[in-house]
Amino acid sequence: MVKVAIPELGEGITQVTVSYWYFKAGDKVKKDDDLMELVTDKATFNLPSPSSGLLSEVFFHEGDTAKVGDVVAIIAEDAG
């Protein structure tokens, strides 16, 4: 199980808004796929998937605000 957390995006950036999910809970994802898009100020940031597997849980949805370090989703890793 891999936790997907909001990374450090720069000095003074403490929170972001989830602007887009490329996948939904239950989808298979590959490592480095664009998983979700975050927005801060006048910039969007594509968060890559840290692992391959099943996107098992999504805790933050489009329009939600998340803080740096917040776990936004869980990826259940491939058994094989």
């Binding site: 450090e8 995006l9 720069g10 000095e11 003074g12 950036i13 808004t17 602007s19 887009y20 480095d32 664009d34 898009e37 927005v39 801060t40 100020d41 006048k42 910039a43 969007t44 940031f45 594509n46 890559p48 329009g63």
Partner: protein, 216 residues
């Protein structure tokens, strides 16, 4: 290997976006170190990812009558207008060779524009909390970027010619009730696009010396 400048001339917004994404991919995988794309667009209104379409004052039909199409795109920011009177620059820059700091990059972009405008004797400035570059309370440069694998795309548009500035009245730029101004309006004289592109590229070289040449 140095960075590459792509001058697309007057180009359809979506066509330029497709070229941007191709070049972005080349920078992401290291075929190119970084790149600058310069262009002008046919009249278009674009909405950033979380933009409210309520910030467009005309309906689709009225916009089409004025020759303006509307697209929603993946950049940050609200609504903006692009037209042939603007010089648009899309810096495809690998932040892994600069610093992984999105706000630092945005502020740096604004500094490029401030310095570019100072070359015309204008004292433009940044305003904290209001991304973009301002001249006497009016906006002259709009900024909205996207970042993928720590490589930037989208970018900034500088109002140069006064020719299509009236089209800004169809929107609330960046979701705000603000006035826009162009370089020609500020100077009170005509400016030739061909003469200013090199100046803008030089500013980028000065402000992003290493990020434009490393990698690749």
């Amino acid at each position: 290997m140095g960075f590459k400048v792509f001058d697309l001339g007057l180009v359809d917004f979506m066509q330029a976006l497709s070229i941007q994404k191709k070049i972005l991919q080349e920078v992401v995988v290291g075929i190119l170190p970084s790149a600058l794309i310069l262009c002008r667009h046919y009249p278009v209104i674009t909405l950033g990812r979380l933009a409210s379409s309520a910030n467009i004052k005309l309906n689709q039909e009225a916009l089409l009558k004025n020759g303006i199409v509307v697209y929603r795109v993946e950049r940050g920011g609200d609504v903006t207008y692009h037209g042939p009177g603007q010089l648009v620059v899309y810096p495809i820059i690998n932040l892994n060779y600069l610093t992984r700091d999105i706000h630092y990059f945005l502020r740096r972009l604004e500094e490029v524009a401030v310095s570019f405008l100072s070359g015309f004797g204008l004292s433009a400035s940044k305003i904290p909390g209001k991304t973009g570059v301002w001249l006497g309370g009016k906006k002259i440069v709009s900024v909205g970027i996207a970042v993928k694998k720590w490589v930037t795309f989208h970018g900034m548009s500088i109002n140069i010619s006064g020719q299509d500035m009236a089209n800004f009245s169809f929107i609330r730029p960046c979701g705000m009730d603000i006035e826009m101004v162009s370089l020609e309006q500020a100077l009170g004289e005509k400016v030739a696009f061909e003469k200013i592109k090199d100046r803008l590229v030089s500013e980028f070289k000065e402000y992003f010396p290493s990020a434009l040449t490393m990698g690749g």
